[in-house]
């Protein structure tokens, strides 16, 4: 294969076949994918969870991962947040002509590793190569499907007054890493993306607890926006304790320099868990026993005081609204 992706590789001809057999099957291959049929043949039954997401992250390589691992983690997590065991993934690639073949290989390799770690099989895929400038390097779409094992199924509209609000770890790491890498900024200490597949931990939670009301990953829009979505859907109030929200000092520092708020930064390896008060301690115990949840903590409580709103109780004991992000965060003048 040439050292760069050429339009030929998306032609459907021999060049495409070489790309598929040498690169994609090499890293993502399994019995189903290797058949190279027009569609995958799957056996599933019962309630299913299905989710799709497109990944257009810039830069495509960042500390803690790349667009390939992110494309697996993002969709695996979305499926798992429904209390499901993710089983199969599809992958669609739109590649810009001229992308170094080494970069593509690193991305596909990372996808393969991420999928194996998550225990999901990539069962069908698609590749398009488009002229230079038509996309930015590479876009990846993944669709995931899994068996729902939770009963009741966690849902954004199921939060109730009195529920405990938990977070699985520190927030803002991914968002700040991406912004910092994009702008070529160096922070005091190393900050890296938290991108990870959370499905094994999520499965433990729904298996060991009788009831989990909401599980959500606070990706774009961050913790604040995700909690606003939940309070709106459930028509309850979320009262957060500012002191209890875990943010790494280096993330606080980076945000302070850039005029950003970590509460609105994206996360790719964290989840919010909202459940009845009586299961909160047990949930934290399960989360902390897993490396991906070792910093898990309680950050608040659902109440019926201000339905649809997120209220922050500050370090000083004052109260303020925590609204939904309007557009993207932009760095300020001073």
């Amino acid at each position: 294969m040439s050292d760069k992706v050429l339009l030929d590789y998306g032609s459907g001809g021999r060049a495409s076949q070489r790309l598929i057999s040498q690169l994609f099957l090499g890293h993502l291959g399994n019995d189903e994918l290797n058949r190279l049929n027009d569609a995958a043949e799957l056996s599933m039954s019962g309630k299913l969870a299905m989710s799709t997401d497109s990944f257009t992250v810039d830069p495509i390589f960042f500390p803690g991962g790349n667009i390939g691992s992110l494309a697996v983690h993002g969709t695996v997590n979305d499926v798992a947040m429904m209390g499901a065991i993710p089983k199969y993934l599809t992958c669609g690639y739109i590649i810009e002509e001229g992308l170094p073949m080494d970069d593509l290989e690193k991305i596909v390799q990372a996808m393969g590793e991420a999928a194996r770690h998550a225990g999901v099989a990539v069962v069908t895929g698609d590749t398009k190569v488009v002229p230079k400038g038509a996309v930015d390097k590479i876009f990846i779409n993944t669709t995931g499907i899994g068996d729902i094992i939770a009963d009741p199924v966690p849902s954004g509209d199921a939060a109730r007054p009195g529920d405990a609000v938990l977070i699985s770890g520190t927030i803002g790491d991914h968002g700040l890493t991406i912004l910092g890498t994009r702008e070529g900024l160096e922070f005091e200490a190393n900050v890296q993306s938290d991108s990870a597949a959370l499905n094994h931990l999520l499965v433990k939670l729904v298996q060991e607890l009788p009831e989990v009301h909401v599980m959500r990953d606070p990706t774009r829009g961050g913790l604040a926006t995700t909690l606003n979505e939940i309070t709106t859907s459930s028509n309850v109030c979320c009262e957060l304790q500012e002191n209890d929200i875990p943010v790494r000092p280096e993330v606080k520092g980076g945000c302070s320099i850039l005029g950003l708020d970590p509460l609105y930064l994206a996360n790719e390896g964290k989840f919010i868990c909202i459940l009845p008060e009586e299961y909160a301690e047990k949930a934290l115990e399960i989360m902390r026993a897993d490396p991906l949840g070792q910093d898990a903590c309680r950050i608040g409580t659902m109440t019926d005081a201000n339905p649809g709103k997120v209220v922050m109780v500050t370090q000083l004991g004052g109260k303020r609204l925590l609204g939904m992000l309007e557009g993207e965060q932009l760095p300020r003048i001073c």
Binding site: N306, M312, G317, R320, L321, G323, P331, R332, I333
Partner: protein
Amino acid sequence: MSFEFLEKFRDPGLCRKMLDRMEAGLYDDLRFMEVCGTHTVAIFQSGLRSLLPEKIIHLSGPGCPVCVTHESEVNAFLDLAVNERVIMATFGDLMRVPGNNGRNLKKAVADGARVKVVYSPFDTLKLAQENPDDIVVFIGVGFETTAPTIAATMKLARQQGITNLRILCFHKTVPLALDALLSDDAINVDGFILPGHVSAIIGTHPYDFIAEKYGKSAVVTGFEPLDILQSLNQMVDWRNKGEAHVVNNYTRIVGDEGNPKAVEIMYEVFEPTDALWRGIGLIPGSGLEIRPEWEEFDAKKEFGITIEDCPPLKGCKCGDILKGIKQPDECPLFGKACTPANPVGPCMVSTEGSCAAYYKYKLD
């Protein structure tokens, strides 16, 4: 500065003591105005506003550089952004600031304008070098905090022989705006929380007139809750004694003399000029313009831009809000016709705008 150090300025127990002390010393209302958008946000974000005694009346002044940028200045940079010869460079704050006909830079980008958000004016040097066939125009909005860095960027551009960088200079200076406010009988302020960042450049002496000429107090203040509470307590004490002072409480950052080197660079490149402030109007001598010796960087000259007063947007009370005459939620447009998603004025969209802070943080 380490966060462990800053945590000391957020100590809840000490803050409670300060609040109780203040409450005990308050016999009638104290109307204080902060003159910096970062203070506005800090007062809300820390929850301090919900804890202040009822007799403390909090006013947000003309301290957000985006908010005081005049309508005609906004329209000027929006017009220039769509010029095919131009790559516009700006801090992120200006991207959503509305001009006439609902325009803003974000929409201009969607229509094909080339606008680059930069984190430092120095980033424009590289941008200019990478695009030698274009003119890179940096929108110079801000107070004494940003002007010296932009002046230094121009000096460096000249040293490096960069000929395609221009500055669209809308800089304003803070002390004369306070003088204008205090000389207006309609405005009723007992004391000022003076800006930490601006004061780090100009020091404290340019504010001495506040006590000497108007008999009001003013305190250069940091951005942590205890910084703000200490300054408020001092102003309560002074008022009870019938005194007025201008003091520097932010000594960990601000020297009384400021940063003379930065001031020197600023005035080497810029000179005072009359400036239009949004909602306030013309304040003689309160702006900065590029000196004739540096005119090769002047975007206004290059593109023949003139800034003229124009009527404020109908119904928008930003002027009264910036002057502390009205609170943001007293504006008839607040939260209805004017929201962060559909801002009528920059006060609702700037990260440091008082209307945006009210909308975003105020619980009831």
